[in-house]
Amino acid sequence: MIDTVKQISRLFKIKNLWFGLFFLKAGLSLLLVIPFYLINNAVLSSSLFSKSLVNSWDFSVLSEMFFGRGEIFPQYLIFVFVGAVIYAAIIQFINGGLYYIFVSGQFEKIDWRTFYAECGLRFNFHIKITVMMIFVYILLLFAGMFFVNIIGMASGHLVGMPVVIMTGFKLLILGLIILAASIFSDCARAAAAAYPDKPFREILTIASGYFKPSLKKLLIIYLITYIPFFIIWIVAEWLSLTVVGSIGGLIGIMIEIVLLQTCSFARSGQKLWYLISFGKEFRSKNQGRFLPKQVTLEL
């Protein structure tokens, strides 16, 4: 646990990668939001009704915007969905290099040529894992819902705050189930990086063999890395609402953007921090091709 906390210092040694991944996400989001801005700004900018948006997330403006123009909203959602699919595909490409550097432990001095070579080499594996995980997530979601509904039935007579706490508890259970599946996908991706010559089925076997005994530890690692990000997220949201509500105007909006982007940047950092600890953990049990070569001393 302490070791995971200590790994955060190593995160700052890969700031190029961190910034790169953040800008990839932010850049694509910016591309996706530009049409939204162009479509809606003309309407909002000339109306007195929309002014309340400068200081608060006024639902009345949002509902007039989205549902008064019902034809644009679904089209835009499809547009964002396509963007998300493209991003997921790009990330699967990057995952090849990413898991390579973290499982090998060679992330502090990244050889970009090797990095991209690994990206290309393992792309089909990562796509396969993603497709498989989509089905796993769907199955687990239904199974998890069934499980939490049983808990819900047992708590049938709760009213008020206990219901909210119980709902939070149910979401936490669902989240943990999904997180466990996500950790399994990390194991599979790491196994693919460590054993590039093994077929897919065998990689899953290796991942599964590592996943079962290590799940508890990996869950803890994930939560240790996630909690600081979660706190940053909550604080950023609270600060941005306060700033916009009090200072307002363009300055308030700019501060809010900086805070929200800090939050997004922290999320990218959280995943990299987790991967540093995860990679070290995985390497300690499955060295694969990263097993140090025996050095023969020539006397």
Binding site: S45, S46, R267
Partner: protein, 600 residues
């Protein structure tokens, strides 16, 4: 001295007979069998004698729960699925019918909820006494008539006479999708035998006596005039009471529902206070609010009785249950005291009730976040009304039978949401000075009666004249959507002192009524004008000492029904900040989505 005394006796007798003949009495004697989940008993009804009837007709409401194929369950998929799963369907059977104590055998017919008894052989100068021996199977779990465990909600549980129209013909409401129970006003004299371990809650303070037997207790109720008589039964009810003015509110709850009681009580008190002041006195002086295990999240109104489902977590996160309570309490005025045909003209109670719910929420909870305020997202009931209204805009008119809406969402969106905003528009156009006069007049005139839409319209005409009635015709009777907008604002120098301001006013959905608009000038002043539209689009030119910086159509938001409020104004210098902030927020949402799908 004799004459005045005789006159006084005559006058008092006249009043008594007048009242006695105004509303008939339904005498009901019944027993609840909790093992068989059925209510059996007899309804006694005296037929009017001042005109001839060829038939006596009655309603068997529980047959709406008879099978999955009934018109009532069409579009009520949740209720239908529950009944399919439980296989505990509801129904009503008639064991026998006695006319003046003579059994008529099987000389009657029943189809769905309609029962018909021919009377050709039973003409008499004396009032004909009809006794209907019935057996009602309570469904698990229905909506108005329902049981779950040992909690019962009994509405429509005895056969009621069909509605006798002014032309002496019987009228049977068509109990199909979205419909509610319709009946005439009666005085109810009810005796029901219930297992002694169950607590029985009737309307208001109608419970007169409870005689405890060996294992059952006979509860006697006297209540009326009302068009329905419902009961809520549960072994674990606890009571909380509060008095507001001359009215008493009693809340019947289970111990696990205690945490919500104060909110419910406050909402009920506020509603009664507001409605008494704004519309008229609450006639029953006592209102019971019960928690029932109905199979959906919401409430059902009955005269002097309100049933709410157990609220779960909603009251912590929002004022949704305050809103629900207000809605059901307001129904005591528009549904309870002023009845209406809820099947043919559901808007006459639902739209009016939702309008007053909106008014009460704004009055007591404010207009900025009266429904929901979490993490900076503020929502009002009006926002939700407007949002729901736009979903089915232009499809149906507000004045349509409940069963004619092709699905539940369209019904609720049109009658509850658009209806409330249409009534709010009419109320706004009446203005503060006439609004209260209108509502008090309508209430007093149709108290304990069933007005039709024309009655509502006539009160508008009498209060505010034909021009507002024309607006009523557009808002209530037509499906068109109304949208005012302003565009093409420009200024140019007119002469050395004045500026020429030109802009275009548009209206979608023709409204022949003056529309207010406000000009804001560069020196900070503003001036109000009225637009009397003759065409759907008109260019307006104004000469003023200062150029205009913005124009706002309908500045006082009188036209609550306006389909789009964003286009109601225009500014000369566009302000990109709202769009910029919204886009930045959306960008962060997209980034979060990408983080979720990509893991980074």
């Amino acid at each position: 001295m004799m004459l005045p005394k005789t006159a006084a006796i005559f006058f008092i007798s006249f009043l008594f007979f007048f009242n006695a003949s105004a509303f008939d009495t339904l005498k009901i004697t019944a027993e609840l069998d909790t093992t068989l989940k059925q209510v059996s008993g007899v309804v006694e009804y005296k037929l009017p004698t001042n005109f001839e009837l060829s038939t006596f007709e009655f309603q068997l409401f529980p047959n709406v729960y008879f099978s999955a194929d009934t018109p009532y369950l069409d579009d009520k998929s949740g209720l239908r699925d529950r009944l399919i799963n439980s296989k505990k369907w509801g129904s009503m059977a008639i064991d026998s019918i006695l006319l003046d104590d003579k059994n008529i055998g099987d000389n009657y017919s029943i189809e769905y909820t309609q029962g018909i008894v021919p009377l050709n052989d039973y003409q008499s100068d004396q009032p004909l006494i009809i006794k209907l021996y019935f057996k009602t199977i309570v469904p698990e779990s229905g909506d108005r008539l329902s049981y779950l465990g040992s909690n019962y909600l009994l509405d429509g549980w005895f056969p009621t006479p069909a509605v006798l129209k002014k032309n002496h013909e019987w009228y049977h409401p068509y109990y199909a999708r979205n419909s509610e129970l319709v009946s005439d006003y009666y005085f109810y004299d009810v005796k029901i035998l219930v297992p002694s371990d169950l607590m029985v809650v009737g309307p208001g303070s109608s419970l007169k006596n409870s005689k405890e037997g060996e294992s059952t207790t006979e509860h006697s109720f006297l209540f009326g005039p009302a068009h329905d008589f419902a009961l809520a039964i549960d072994p674990d009810y606890l009571t909380e009471e509060s008095i507001i003015g001359t009215d008493t509110i009693r809340i019947y709850y289970r111990d696990y529902e205690y945490s919500i009681i104060q909110k419910i009580k406050q909402a009920a008190e506020n509603s009664i206070e507001y409605m008494t002041e704004y519309v008229g006195d609450y006639a029953y002086n006592s209102l019971n609010i019960v928690f029932s295990d109905i199979g959906f999240s919401g409430g059902i109104e009955f005269p002097a009785l309100v049933s709410l489902s157990t609220p779960r977590g909603a009251p912590v996160l929002s004022n949704a249950y305050d809103m629900l309570t207000i809605h059901e309490v307001v129904h005591q005025w528009f549904y309870g005291m002023v009845g209406s045909n809820q099947v043919e003209h559901p808007w006459l109670d639902e739209s009016l009730t939702n309008f007053f719910t909106l008014k009460i929420l704004v009055h007591y909870w404010g207009d900025s976040a009266n429904l929901f305020d979490l993490a900076g997202l503020k929502t009002t009931m009006r926002d939700m009304n407007r949002l729901n209204m736009t979903l089915f805009m232009g499809e149906s008119s507000i004045n349509q039978p409940s069963y004619s809406y092709y699905r539940g969402e369209s019904y609720f969106s049109t009658v509850y949401d658009r209806g409330a905003l249409a009534i709010e528009t009419i109320d706004n156009l009446l203005g503060d000075s006439l609004s209260q006069i209108f509502w008090k007049t309508y209430f007093e005139k149709f108290k304990f009666a069933h007005p039709i839409p024309d009655d509502f319209r006539n009160v508008i005409v009498k209060t505010a004249g034909d021009s507002l009635a024309a607006i009523y015709d557009i808002l209530i009777d037509s499906p068109i959507s109304i949208d005012f907008s302003v565009s093409n604002l420009s200024n140019r120098r007119f002469d050395s002192t004045d500026a020429e301001i030109s802009f275009v006013l548009n209206q979608k959905g023709t409204v022949n009524y003056p529309i207010d608009y406000r000009l804001y000038f560069s020196n900070g002043d503003s001036l109000d004008f009225k637009w009397q539209p003759q065409y759907s689009t008109e260019e307006i030119v104004q000469i003023a000492p200062y150029p205009a910086v913005s124009i706002l159509v309908d500045p006082d938001n009188k036209w609550a029904i306006d389909a789009n409020l964003i286009n109601n104004s225009i500014v000369i210098n566009p302000d990109n900040r709202p769009g910029f902030r919204l886009s930045a927020g959306i960008m962060f949402l997209i980034e979060s989505l990408l983080s979720f799908v990509g893991g980074i």
